[in-house]
């Protein structure tokens, strides 16, 4: 039952832009210990739902909660403080910071060293920085990137940048990890590495949500899949159930026919 309480839940989420209903009253539950996939054709509302959950958009109706705590109205920074973190579809690493420092930003929110430590060589700031660096190195080597800490993001291939971005998201031991198209722009072997990494990350107390186009990736790692089309869920269930759902097949094959 513990898994049920530590879930990220949305009830009746409705969002519209200037009269166009993007999300039509969605009920979702992302459980801890599971990897949940969110799929659907372009324009189905995946990113909108994602943004509602992270706090970038605020839906007109519905409630969003994690482990019973309501999240409505909290800005992204406040949700981050509660351990709800995300990755970005377009790699959003800072080119002026080294890879290690970029990853360190994932736990910077836990730091308490004040402005004085920022300008003066005080022991407090130094210890915190060392702790952050150690955590970042651990996260990087967990993701199979042990030697890149001192490089700059621009020196890494796109696949590695994506992994660095995921390292930044997981370094702070989040309770909810939301990945926005983690495999976008990756080649086959990079995607395979990513799959392995994501499987390894899944743990009993982590809620993991993956928005993805790559069906193979979604089918191979997800425990449950929500299929979104025109702002509504067409199907929910295990990969097996979703794959055999006639509506899902129609949406995906149908959209192929149109192109």
């Amino acid at each position: 039952m513990d898994q049920m309480t530590n879930a990220l839940r949305g009830e009746g989420i409705a969002l519209s832009f200037g009269g166009i209903k993007v999300l039509k009253g969605l009920d979702v539950e992302f459980r801890a210990g599971e990897i949940t996939g969110l799929i659907g054709p372009n324009g189905a509302g995946k990113t909108s739902l994602f943004n509602c959950l992270t706090g970038a958009y605020s839906p007109q109706q519905g409630t969003i909660s994690y482990a019973g705590m309501p999240l409505n109205g909290l800005p992204p920074a406040a949700r981050a403080a509660k351990g709800i973190v995300r990755s970005f579809q377009h790699v959003a690493l800072c080119p002026d910071l080294t890879v290690r420092e970029n990853v360190m930003m994932g736990i910077a929110r836990n730091c308490t060293a004040g402005w004085l430590s920022a300008f003066l060589p005080l022991p407090r700031g130094r210890t915190e920085r060392e702790e952050m660096a150690r955590a970042a190195d651990t996260a990087l080597s967990d993701l199979g990137l042990p030697d890149v800490g001192d490089k700059f993001p621009g020196e890494l291939p796109p696949g590695m940048q994506r992994l660095v971005e995921i390292a930044r998201a997981v370094v702070g031991k989040p309770s909810v990890l939301m990945l926005d198209e983690p495999a976008a722009g990756l080649n086959n072997s990079e995607t395979r590495d990513l799959t392995a990494v994501l499987r390894k990350l899944a743990s009993t107390d982590l809620v993991m949500v993956v928005v993805e186009h790559d069906m193979d990736l979604v089918m191979s790692i997800c425990d449950r899949i929500y299929v979104l089309n025109f702002g509504e869920f067409v199907a929910v269930g295990s990969p097996e159930e979703v794959r055999n759902n006639p509506d899902v097949v129609r949406i995906y094959l149908g959209s192929d026919d149109d192109e």
Partner: protein
């Protein structure tokens, strides 16, 4: 890692060996040591000019910091330098209070006003801050002249109280500016390593990512302007003490633009050698061209454009150069 990636050509290894010896810290150390002995080698007027160079370097650093960490441009930093300079000048000339009290006050005022000016445009495109600072720069001389009871109007104020009693005043003026510059450069170098500094850099390039990891955009916009305003005020403090007089002529609209030009000329550098270059440019060019005043804006404009275009075409030039050297 493949062998290919770690393979180093002889050329590069010489370069890396050299650069590993000349780390930024060592370079700055040598430079500071040289500057410490300077007054014993130079005449009084050069010592005075160098002191002004250091003071202006701090101002250039304040502008560069805003560009580097905030992605914003200020053409009104004379407001902050004036704030700092008049804190020193007024406390000294009117109340006889020395730098021990007036420098902290200058810093405090600079930070406070930096935050106040960033506040209205906190949610907007950085361009709005630039326009606000334009108005700020134009308003400064007006404010100084109209508060003449305090500021002494056109005539200005003379700063005479020594910082350390007994030491020669010329030496004090020189070393005060130098020490301030070194402290500020050191603090800015520390900032790069701190979580606040890293958060500012992330917020500049990817505000949404910074937001998602707990750094609010508004916090970033306001903090960087506060820091930059504080450093600007310290520049003013150094200018007041090292330049011995505080008058409206030092805080004109042109001076504000010159600070920005100095920042561009030093490629927005934050290291001690770079900001010294910018400060020297701001201080020396008007002196060298003082006989032909009308050429100053032309020269500054050309220097500004030249550096910007150089910065733009540099990667391409470098690529072309390396292609040529590969061929030969």
């Amino acid at each position: 890692m493949s062998n290919h990636a770690t393979h180093i050509t002889p050329d590069q290894s010489v370069f890396t060996r050299l650069s590993s010896v000349a780390t930024p810290g060592v370079t700055a150390g040598i430079l500071v040591a040289a500057l410490i002995v300077m007054p014993f080698l130079l005449g009084g007027s050069w010592t005075f000019t160098l002191g002004l160079c250091f003071a202006n370097s701090i101002g250039v650093l304040a502008v560069s910091l805003l560009v580097r960490y905030g992605g914003e441009v200020s053409i009104g930093h004379t407001f902050f330098t004036a704030l700092g300079a008049y804190s020193i000048g007024v406390l000294d000339a009117r109340f006889g209070i020395s730098l021990w009290a007036s420098v902290p006050l200058a810093l405090l005022l600079g930070v406070t006003f930096g935050i106040l000016f960033a506040w209205p445009s906190r949610n907007l495109h950085g361009i709005y801050l630039a326009v606000t600072t334009l108005a700020l720069a134009l308003a400064v001389p007006e404010m100084i002249n109209n508060f003449d009871i305090l500021t002494g109007g056109y005539e200005g104020l003379y700063v005479a109280t020594p910082f350390i009693p007994g030491m020669s005043m010329g030496m004090q003026r020189y070393y005060f500016a130098l020490v301030m510059l070194v402290i500020v450069c050191f603090a800015v170098a520390r900032l790069r390593l701190s979580r606040q500094g890293m958060a500012l850099l992330l917020a500049k390039t990817h505000p949404a990512a910074a937001d998602a990891f707990g750094t609010r955009r508004v916090w970033a916009r306001i903090s960087i302007m506060g820091i930059s305003g504080g450093i600007g005020a310290l520049c003013g403090a150094a200018l007041a003490f090292s330049g011995s007089t505080v008058s409206p002529g030092g805080f004109t609209f042109w001076q504000a633009i010159f600070l920005l030009v100095g920042s561009v000329v030093s490629f927005y550098g934050l290291s001690l050698p770079r900001v010294l270059l910018g400060g020297a440019f701001v201080t020396l060019v008007p002196q060298l061209l003082s006989a032909s005043g009308a050429w100053i804006p032309v020269f500054y404009g050309l220097a500004l454009l030249g550096m910007i275009l150089l910065g733009h075409y540099m990667p391409r030039i470098r690529k072309a150069m390396s292609r040529i050297s590969e061929v030969s």
